[in-house]
Amino acid sequence: MAQKARTATAVEKKLIGVADVVIHAAERRQDPTLTIPVRSLSNVTFNDRKGLIEMGKRKQARSFFNVGMAKKFMQTVLVADALCELQRANLTTSLREIYYRSKHTIKNSHENTLDTQDESDPLIEDLEVSLEALREELHVRAENAGSIVGPLVLVDDGDRVDCARLGKGGYSVPSIVEPEYLQIRQCTADFLLLVEKGTQWNRLSEDKFWRRYNCVLLTGNGQPPRGVRRLARRLHEEKRLPVYVLVDNDPWGYYIYSVIKQGSINLAFESQRMAIPKAKFVGLSSADPEAYELPRNVGIKLNDKDVARAKELLGYTWFQKKSWQAEIKRMLSSGLKYELDALANKDFQFLTKKYLPRKLKEQDWLD
């Protein structure tokens, strides 16, 4: 399997550590136990000074000799084994392949080690957190689910990618964008605009908005995946690009913005490397329909779920700024949400020609 010459990587050593836990516990006749930090709202705190969501200290024990946890424990060891195999072979793979790799029928029974992918996915996250290894370091990738275009040059697997010369389709952001895999060779842009929806990104790309305003256009097609967030963070950090976020005017849009800015609850342990505390919210704001004279009939009535989610957001510590409370409450009192696409009601190019130019000129954004 592993060649003698190759030294085990740090991550590999960490994964082997899982086996050591079992071996050492067995030697001392103790219950083998893995400690895993708790990944839930109750175990995250908002660090006001850094502007990040940070993971708390609470941990859960997962022990083998406990009827409720035995299977999960076994699965965790199994997944660790599969991840270690990836490390040794120096391959990257998807969550689904990990699931298939670890699935088999347990000897002398009709029970499968894993029944659905829903069982293995959280285990990978558990290992990420407890081993303090990023998913990228574990060689697990998600689908390429983002696009980038603008005056910047990247190097991917030794290929030079000039994002200014990729037509309106742009460059598809891979899920692993760590410097070992993707280098930022050059970037002359003035800022970065992260758009929630692919359709609006297409509009801006087609209109060559990035050329006129000298910016990088990035989209994550909904909730941006890690690759997109990490790339935005790297451009922000390495090339000092200010980041602006353009999302729908609804609770989910607000949350996407907050994930980009402060990090997510589930992946709080990665906020350090993902979050962009200085990101700004350009729109769609609940004040925009009035300011830009959008007719009321292009709004959509907030449903019960929207209202419940908005009220949840009002309670999050990182939404406590006065301006944000006012923003969310204004949406709730209007009872309507607006999609970015609704701007087309005025003109197909309203976003490119009127809305964004005015926003940028007036510096009309929320922090």
């Binding site: 399997m1 592993a2 994964l15 082997i16 899982v18 086996a19 079992v22 071996i23 067995a26 030697e27 006749r29 219950d31 083998p32 083998f64 000799f65 009827v67 035995a70 299977k71 424990f73 076994m74 060891v77 199994l78 660790a80 084994d81 270690c84 195999e85 088999h104 029928t105 347990i106 000897k107 002398n108 029974s109 009709h110 029970e111 499968n112 080690t113 029944d115 659905t116």
Partner: protein, 648 residues
């Protein structure tokens, strides 16, 4: 049910000249009025008696004949031995061969019993006169109530095929057998004898009825087959042979050798009668005094209580009953309602009994768990009644093993969640007769819906019967079962009845819940034990791979296994799984079936019925006890179960 009487003719005095002259005079109209015989009425309204369509008619004919046979045997104290034979008959001329059963539209039904037989003079009216019978005028529990059934079946046959009813009856081995062919004169509601003679008959005693009717034979719900099976469940003391029209012979053996206790006849209870009935009784009584009438013609009225009633009604106890009418009768009626009277006696009822229900369910339905509950007698509208409920749950050990075998193949994603969501079946009985139609109109079914089965560990969606492999048995025994119609298909809803059914079902449910919980506990205990054993191998293998194959595999496995043994408490847990006295696992009146054996009092099949004094010739001793299911408590049950599973 009384025959519609002659209507008052509308003979009014001639109206004043101002009114227009009627087109038909009152005299002409009066001339058209005439009596309707009850048989004519039912000829036109045969759906009222359960002859709506050919399929149902076939069932009704079988049902009426079998009901009569069983009633007769039980009243005479004979363990019933009944043969039901269905034959497809060629339509029209006798020459052609009969079509296959599923296509046939005409059937010959022959029901033979070993009952007391019928005396010669009574044969024609019993089989060819509507509303002629022994059961209507007395308050006593029996299957038949009105004396319509078999004559109506004969009438239906006569109407659809023109064939008479053929009867053979013999009252004892020494008496000759009589053969009759009778038809009903529908105008007069009188029997017409087409043929009568003495014949040789192989049976020493009993009755055989042959009907030829238009019908349709189709298996499935509400079929003759279902009726026969359900009859056996509620009547395990019956030996029944069913010869299907397809030529099959189905033998249902006797599994309970005691005749149901003979019910006593009772007088009506004062709470149960209506004003009109009271007036009639006042007229018909033989008593000279009102107090004597009350004490003599009703149950639970003592002479003192009779005086109290008279006082409450403001009537003299010495009044002549015939003189009490009008307002006085109404006062008497109110007086009765206002007086506190003891509930009617309950010895007029003969419930099936928990043991017999268990025997019936166990014989007919495959399952893992059976239970039965008999409620104490209760009263509705002055009529005593008893509710009994039973329950069979599970698919039986054979099917469970089959499923186990299927699981040996590795399961693909999504297959694990596959479980059948069949709904429970409700089987309803009134006085031991299965009710096959109008389920949703029946109080039994409504009570099943009302019960919160989820409390007992059974899934149930809103407004539906519980789901799962389950049969729910509900029986109402009463001197007068309140049917919603003459065809006796559904029991009417009285609060008292519904309450009793609900209570019985809840008790069944509680026992089922206890059984399911225990099984679940045993299962999880087994799993607990097994889980580590299974997973240790996986963990050890994974660790070995993580350590690049440089692990002392055997040592780690050994260490973990020792720990697992210690954690699960070793053999001690076996005791936890054992029994705690009482019935099977402490449940009264229940049977539990596991692949290793059966727990609880299971009556073995009784083929050669222990001969009752009244029947000198019991059935032939065909002693083939059912081999697979034998009562037997294994002492180390939990151990053997574990051993069996390990092998699997």
């Amino acid at each position: 049910m009384a025959a519609p009487g002659r209507k008052e003719s509308p003979s009014k005095p001639d109206s004043p000249a101002a009114l227009p002259k009627p087109t038909v005079s009152a005299v002409e109209m009066g001339a058209r009025q005439r009596e309707i015989s009850v048989s004519e009425f039912f000829t036109k309204n045969r759906h009222l008696l359960g002859f709506d369509n050919p399929r149902k008619a076939l069932l009704t004919c079988v049902k009426e004949a079998v009901d009569n046979a069983l009633d007769a045997c039980e009243e005479a104290g004979i363990l019933p031995d009944v043969v039901v034979k269905l034959e497809a008959v060629a339509n029209g001329s006798n020459g052609t061969t009969p079509p296959p059963a599923s296509q046939a539209s005409r059937f010959r039904i022959t029901i033979t019993d070993n009952g007391p037989g019928i005396v010669r003079q009574q044969i024609p009216p019993i089989f060819a006169k509507l509303l002629y019978g022994s059961k209507f005028h007395r308050l006593r529990m029996s299957r038949g109530q009105q004396g319509i059934g078999i004559s109506a079946a004969g009438m239906y046959g006569q109407l659809t095929t023109g064939k008479p009813v053929q009867i053979i009856s013999r009252t004892s081995a020494r008496a000759p057998a009589h053969y009759f062919e009778v038809q009903i004169d529908t105008k007069k509601n009188e029997p017409m004898i087409l043929e009568k003679k003495q014949i040789d008959w192989e049976s020493p005693r009993g009755t055989q009825v042959t009907l030829e009717v238009e019908g349709r034979y189709q298996k499935g719900r509400a079929s003759v087959d279902e009726y026969v099976e359900q009859t056996i469940i509620a009547n395990p003391h019956v030996k029944l042979t069913y010869l299907t029209p397809e030529g099959e012979t189905k033998e249902f053996r006797r599994t309970y050798d005691q005749l149901p206790a003979a019910p006593r006849e009772i007088k009506p209870h004062p709470y149960g009668i209506e004003l009109g009935m009271l007036l009639k009784m006042l007229q018909d009584t033989k008593s000279h005094w009102l107090s004597g009438f009350l004490a003599g013609d009703f149950s639970r009225v003592s002479p003192r209580l009779a005086e109290d009633i008279c006082k409450a009604a403001g009537l003299s106890p010495r009044a002549r009953p015939r003189d009490v009418h009008g307002q006085a009768a109404e006062n008497l009626y109110k007086g009765i309602q206002a007086t506190k009277i003891m509930a009617p006696p309950t010895n007029c009822l003969s419930p099936i009994g928990e043991q017999a229900i268990l025997a019936g369910l166990y014989q007919q339905i495959k399952g893992d768990f059976y239970t039965a509950v008999s409620r104490p007698p209760a009263v509705y509208r002055g009529n005593p009644f008893v509710i009994e409920a039973g329950l069979a749950y599970g698919k039986g050990p054979e099917q469970a093993q089959e499923r186990q075998a299927r699981k040996e193949i590795p399961l693909a994603e999504g297959e694990a969640a596959e479980n059948d969501s069949e709904l429970a079946r409700v089987i309803r009985y009134a006085n031991r007769v299965p009710l096959l139609y109008q389920q949703s109109a029946c109080v039994c079914y409504k009570a099943v819906l009302d019960t919160t089965w989820r409390n007992y560990g059974v899934a149930q969606s809103r407004g539906a019967v519980p789901s799962g492999p389950m049969v729910i048995f509900v029986h109402m025994a009463s001197v007068w079962v309140p049917f919603t119609s003459e065809s006796k298909e559904a029991i009417a809803e009285y609060d008292e009845i519904r309450k009793e059914i609900t209570l019985a079902l809840r008790e069944c449910g509680r026992r089922l819940g206890a059984f399911l919980r225990r099984r679940e506990r045993a299962h999880s205990e087994f799993r607990r034990r097994n889980i580590f054993e299974l997973y240790i191998e996986e963990v050890v293998e994974s660790c070995n791979r993580l350590k690049s194959g440089k692990l002392a595999v055997a040592k780690l496995r050994d260490q973990l296994q020792k720990m697992a043994m210690k954690r699960t408490g070793g053999e001690k847990t076996d005791e936890l799984l054992g029994q705690n006295g009482g019935g099977p696992e402490g449940l009264p009146h229940s049977i539990i079936v596991t692949p290793e054996g059966v727990e609880g009092a299971v009556p073995a099949a009784i083929d050669a019925a222990p001969v009752v004094a009244a029947s000198p010739n019991g059935g032939p001793a065909a002693t083939a006890a059912r081999p697979a299911r034998r009562a037997g408590k294994t002492k180390g049950r939990a151990k053997s179960k574990r051993a069996a599973r390990k092998r699997g």
